[in-house]
C-alpha cells in the first residue's frame, strides 16, 4: 500500500512535468493548427540557460528561471517568425517537416555550445522532504513544487484564455482563423503571443524536469517532448484541461505500468493505452469531436 502511494506520487510528479510540456503543444496546435515538434528542444534550451545562470553566473534560482523564461520566449517568437510564419499558407506537411528541422537545429546548436558531456542540474529546489510511514514514503520538495507549479499554471492559463482580450482573440483564431481576421484580430500577433507563452512554459518545464531528473544533455528534451505530445493527444489536442489530464494520466500509467507489470514494457504500455483511447475516442479524452461538413 505504501509503495503504491509512492508510485502514485512519483507518477503524478512525472505527469505534472509532461502536463506542463503538453500545454505548450496543445496551445500551439489549438491556435496555429500546427505540431511544433521543436517544443521539446526549447525545454532543453531553457534548462541549459537556467543551468548556466546558476552555475556560471551564480544567480539565485528564481532569477535563473526568469532568465530561462525570457530566453525561451524570445527563442519561441524567433522560431515562429523565421521558420513558421513564412509557411502560414503552405501545406501542413511542409510546416511539420520544418518543425522537425528546427528541432534538429536546436539540438545540434546545443551540442556545439554545451557539448555532449552531460551536466548535472543543481538541486536548488531541494529544501528537504516529507517522510511518512517510517520513512517508507518520501515526498521531496521537487515533487511538491512540480505539482504546485502545474496547478498554478493550469489555473492561470484558463483564466487568461477565458477572461483577457488576448485570450479571447486566441480562442477566436482557434475557432476560425479567417473569420477572426475579418473581425479585426491580428492573427500573426496572436500566434506570436501563443508561441511566447508556450515557450515560457517550456522554460519552466525544463527547470522542473531537470530539478527532478537532473541530467542535462542536448537530447534531454526530446523524449519528454514526445511523451508530452502523446499526453496532449491523449487528453484531446487543443484542449488545455485535456493536456493537463493527459499528462497526469500518462505519468501515472507509465510509473504504475513499470512498477506492477514490467520495467521493460513501461513505454509500450503507455502507447498501448494511447491507442486504445484513440480507438474509442478519436478526439482524445476531452477533445471536441470535429464534424466534417460535406
Amino acid at each position: 500500500m505504501v509503495s503504491f502511494l509512492r508510485f502514485l506520487i512519483n507518477g503524478i510528479s512525472l505527469g505534472s512535468v509532461y502536463a506542463i510540456i503538453a500545454l505548450g503543444y496543445t496551445m500551439v496546435y489549438g491556435i496555429a493548427k500546427m505540431l511544433n515538434f521543436a517544443h521539446g528542444d526549447v525545454i532543453m534550451v531553457g534548462a541549459y540557460v537556467a543551468f548556466c545562470a546558476m552555475s556560471y553566473l551564480s544567480l539565485p534560482p528564481l532569477v535563473a528561471v526568469l532568465c530561462a523564461m525570457v530566453v525561451c520566449t524570445v527563442l519561441g517568437v524567433l522560431i515562429e517568425g523565421l521558420a513558421y510564419r513564412p509557411l502560414r499558407e503552405a501545406t501542413k506537411l511542409a510546416v511539420l517537416i520544418t518543425a522537425i528541422g528546427v528541432s534538429y537545429l536546436l539540438q545540434n546548436t546545443a551540442l556545439l555550445i554545451w557539448t555532449a558531456n552531460p551536466k548535472v542540474f543543481p538541486s536548488v529546489f531541494s529544501v528537504g522532504s516529507i517522510k511518512l510511514f517510517d520513512g517508507n514514503l518520501v515526498i521531496t520538495s521537487e515533487i511538491i513544487l512540480t505539482i504546485v507549479a502545474n496547478i498554478v499554471i493550469m489555473i492561470a492559463l484558463t483564466l487568461f484564455t477565458g477572461r483577457t482580450k488576448m485570450g479571447k482573440a486566441m480562442r477566436a483564431v482557434s475557432e476560425d482563423r479567417g473569420a477572426a481576421e475579418l473581425m479585426g484580430i491580428n492573427v500573426n500577433r496572436t500566434i506570436s503571443v501563443t508561441f511566447a507563452i508556450g515557450s515560457a512554459l517550456a522554460a519552466i518545464a525544463g527547470v522542473l524536469l531537470c530539478s527532478s531528473y537532473p541530467t542535462l544533455m542536448p537530447t534531454t528534451g526530446s523524449m519528454p517532448g514526445i511523451k508530452a505530445f502523446t499526453a496532449a493527444v491523449f487528453g484531446g489536442i487543443g484542449s488545455i484541461p485535456g493536456a493537463m489530464l493527459g499528462g497526469l494520466l500518462l505519468g501515472v500509467i507509465e510509473i504504475l505500468g513499470k512498477a506492477y507489470i514490467s520495467t521493460e514494457l513501461g513505454d509500450a504500455i503507455v502507447f498501448a493505452v494511447l491507442i486504445i483511447v484513440l480507438l474509442f475516442k478519436p478526439a482524445g479524452l476531452l477533445g471536441k469531436p470535429v464534424h466534417e461538413k460535406v
Partner: protein, 380 residues
Amino acid sequence: MKFNKAIVAMILAIVMVVGMACAAMAEDALKIGVIGPFTGAAAIYGNACKFGAQVAAEQINAQGGMQIELLNEDDEHDAEKSINAYNTVLDNGAQMIAGTTTTTPCIAVGAQANEDRVFMLTPSASAVDVIEGKDNVFQVCFTDPNQGKASAAYINEKGLATKIAIIYNNADAYSTGIYQTFVDEATSLNMEIVSTTTFTDDTTDFSVQVSDAKDAGADLVFLPIYYTPASMILQTAKSMDYAPVFFGVDGMDGILTMEGFDTSLAEGVFMLTPFSADAEDEATKAFVARYQEITGEIPNQFAADCYDAVYALYTASVNAGIDGSTSPEDACELLIAQFTSPDFQIKGLTGDMTWDASGAVTKLPTAVVIKDGAYVGFNG
C-alpha cells in the same frame, strides 16, 4: 615525362636509403607500434596509453638485454585514420602492435591486421567484436561481458552483499552483455538476486527501479551501465533514503568528473577496475612515480593496461626468440603460439594475466571504492 621519372627515381632512392639506415640503426631493437587517439575528444585515453607504454619501454631498456623501440601514431579515435596510422607504423618497421586504444578503431585495424598477419595486443578496447574471429588479436582488459562475471566473483569473494539488485539498460549491448554474464556467475555461486529492473536510453525516471531494489531489501545494487544514468540512480536513491552498496563497472568511470555532479552522492560506490594507482606493491609505485614525472598526472587504468601490453609483448617476444630482424608475419605466428601456451603468464600492474585462444584475458578482478571524491583501492 622524363623529368617526372627522374624525380620518382630520386624519391625512391631516398626512401630506400633512409629505410635501410633506419633498419640499420635499430637492428636489434624490437619495434612495437603504439596506436591511439593522442589528439581529439578521446585524447585522454590515447595519451595515458602512450605514456604508460613509454614508462614500460624505459624500464625494459634500462635492464639491458633486447631493447625496444616504440612507434607512436595518432588515430584521433577514428577508424579510417587508425588504419592509416597502422600502415604508417608498419612502414616504419613495427613488428607488432600495442593497440589500438579505443574500440571502434580497434575493430577496423584488427580486421586489417588479421589479413596482414600482424599481431595485436590491445590494452583497452574491450568489445567482443575486437577479438571475435581474429586469432591474432588479444586483449589486456576484460572483454565487456566478462566484467559481469568478474564483478559477481568479486562481490562473492569479498562478501559485499547478501541480497543483490540489478538495474541495467536493456537497449544497450554493453549493459545487457555484462548483465547476462553477471547473472550466470551469480547463479552458479548461489548468490541471491532479489530484484532485476531495466531502463532504456530514453528513461528519465528511475524511481520504480530504485523502489523495487529497496522494497526487495537489496543491500547491493549492481549497475552495469554508463555513468550518466548511474548518476540519476544515485540521486533517486538518495531522495528515497536508500543507501545500499552500489557496484559499477568501467562505464562508471567518469562519474566524478561530470559537470555539476555532487560527488558526495557517489561516496562508497564500488567500481570494477583492474588498476588502482595507490596500490602498495613496488611495481605500481615505480610506475606511478615515473608516470607522474613525465605527465604530472596520476595514471589511470588505460596507462596501466598499456604498460602491461608492452611488457607482455616484450616477454612473449623474448620467450619466442623474436628479435628486431623477425618479420611481422613470423612474429605474429610465434606470438600467437606464446600467448595461447598454458605456461605463458604475465604479472602485470593490472593483475596476473593468462590468455586463451579467443584472445580474451583471464585475471583476477579488483575494485576501487570512491572515498571523498577520489578512487581508493579496496582491501576488504
